[in-house]
């Protein structure tokens, strides 16, 4: 991650605000695919069998989701720090951006955790996960980029709470769906 951001710095220097925002979320997306994909793809068959004997499907997916959310939050914060070091920090409203990045990290990791479970059942590599996941995540990414624009300006945009509620609602939806659908992937 640090290497990627350093390369970005070499390539762009200090980018403009829009570019900064776009790059930031793109990096988050790829970090998420690489970090979260490991959660199911890297588990060996034997260990999955062991988990299967000790816990139910619901608890297992919930634990995975929770772990990945925390992991992704840490990743997001680290990359923000690195962005600030290399590419400059145009953020004016610190706390708002903190909230948005945490929410964004959560959304990304929830969706990709579940997709990695699907891709792992298909015994496929991360490429399949990217095919499955990118179309699903585009709407959320668009919303995130839109609302993170507000932290660079003094004007507060209208309809902000609506978008935040929508993102939160989508996150909840993903959790509920994962809880309902995972047991079907689990038994094999």
């Amino acid at each position: 991650m640090a290497a990627t951001i350093f390369v970005l710095y070499l390539a762009m220097g200090q980018p403009e605000i829009n570019v900064w925002n776009g790059l930031f979320w793109m990096i988050q997306l790829f970090v998420c695919v690489n970090a979260v994909a490991k959660s199911f793809l890297a588990e060996s068959r034997g260990r999955m069998l062991y988990f299967y004997t000790i816990v139910g499907g619901r608890h297992f997916i919930l634990a995975k989701l929770l772990f990945n959310v925390l992991l992704m939050m840490a990743m997001t914060l680290t990359s923000w720090l690195l962005f600030a070091v290399f590419l400059g920090n145009p953020v004016i409203h610190f706390w708002q951006f903190l909230g948005i990045t945490l929410l964004g990290g959560t959304s990304l990791s929830l969706v990709f955790t579940f997709l990695s479970a699907i891709a792992a059942r298909a015994q496929q590599n991360a490429a399949l996960m990217a095919i499955l996941g990118f179309p699903l995540i585009i709407p959320q990414l668009l919303l995130l980029m839109k609302i993170s624009n507000i932290v660079f300006a003094d004007v507060i945009q209208a309809g902000l709470t609506q978008i935040l509620l929508l993102l939160g609602g989508l996150d909840l939806l993903v959790i509920v769906l994962a809880m309902i659908l995972f047991p079907f992937l689990w038994k094999d």
Binding site: I118, A122, L136, L143, G159, Q162, L170, L185
Partner: protein
């Protein structure tokens, strides 16, 4: 005869749609002019697509409940025909946009149009669904995993294509309100063709799907017996 009444109805309605849709008197609107006749084709494609994709998800849920392979065949065929209608909706929309939007909007405005991104996402998701099915060999596993993905994708997609366009500015008719079109705006002359047209195109989609399902069921039967 008792079972084929809806096919006859479908043919009659589509004949009515095409002939009256092209011949009737339509209200003159600014910018739109005569292209408003595309309403009977473009909007109806999307409506029919949504109905068929919903049917696909219904059968996916049923598959997970019953584990009957028949339901999986229904689900995948509804998704495929829904995808076809989506592509047709894109094509008719492109023709329409050529005569209305390109005159006063530049290309970058059209490319960032939320409705277009939304439908691009929808099509990509269902292509991904087919890719996922193609990458699995075991029939039962294929059915189960793709059913799970279908439900998940549908649940994620539909809120975002219904809500997202309402939050962003757009060139598409009905901005700042219903994303598809403004129903109060719809002239009664348009309405008498428009509503039957939706039913007609949806029935045509269902008809195509049932034919495909029958072919697949026959294939499966010969696979199991031979």
């Amino acid at each position: 005869m008792r079972k084929s009444w809806w096919k006859i109805l479908c043919a009659v309605i589509l004949l009515y749609t095409v002939s009256c849709g092209l011949l009737f008197d339509v209200p003159a609107r600014e910018i739109l002019h005569e292209t408003i006749r595309n309403l009977f084709f473009h909007v109806c494609m999307w409506m029919a697509m949504m109905v068929l994709l919903s049917a696909s998800v219904y059968y996916s849920i049923r598959y997970l409940r019953t584990q009957q392979l028949r339901d999986d065949i229904y689900a995948v065929n509804y998704a495929k025909v829904g995808l076809l209608l989506g592509i047709l909706g894109y094509a008719t929309g492109a023709v329409w946009a050529k005569y209305t939007w390109t005159e006063f909007a530049d290309m970058s405005q059209i490319f960032t149009e939320p409705k277009l991104t939304g439908t691009a996402i929808a099509l990509l998701i269902y292509f991904a669904y087919l890719v996922l099915r193609g990458s699995l060999n075991d029939i039962d596993k294929k059915a189960r995993i793709s059913a799970v993905y279908n439900i998940f994708a549908y649940a994620m997609l539909f809120p975002s294509i219904w809500i997202l366009p309402r939050l962003m500015e757009s060139l598409h008719p009905g901005r700042g309100g219903n994303p598809a079109l403004n129903f109060n705006d719809l002239d009664s002359r348009l309405r008498i063709v428009f509503w039957p047209a939706i039913i007609g195109w949806t029935l045509l989609g269902v008809w195509i799907t049932t034919l495909k399902i029958r072919i697949d069921l026959l294939k499966e039967k010969s696979l199991l017996n031979g």
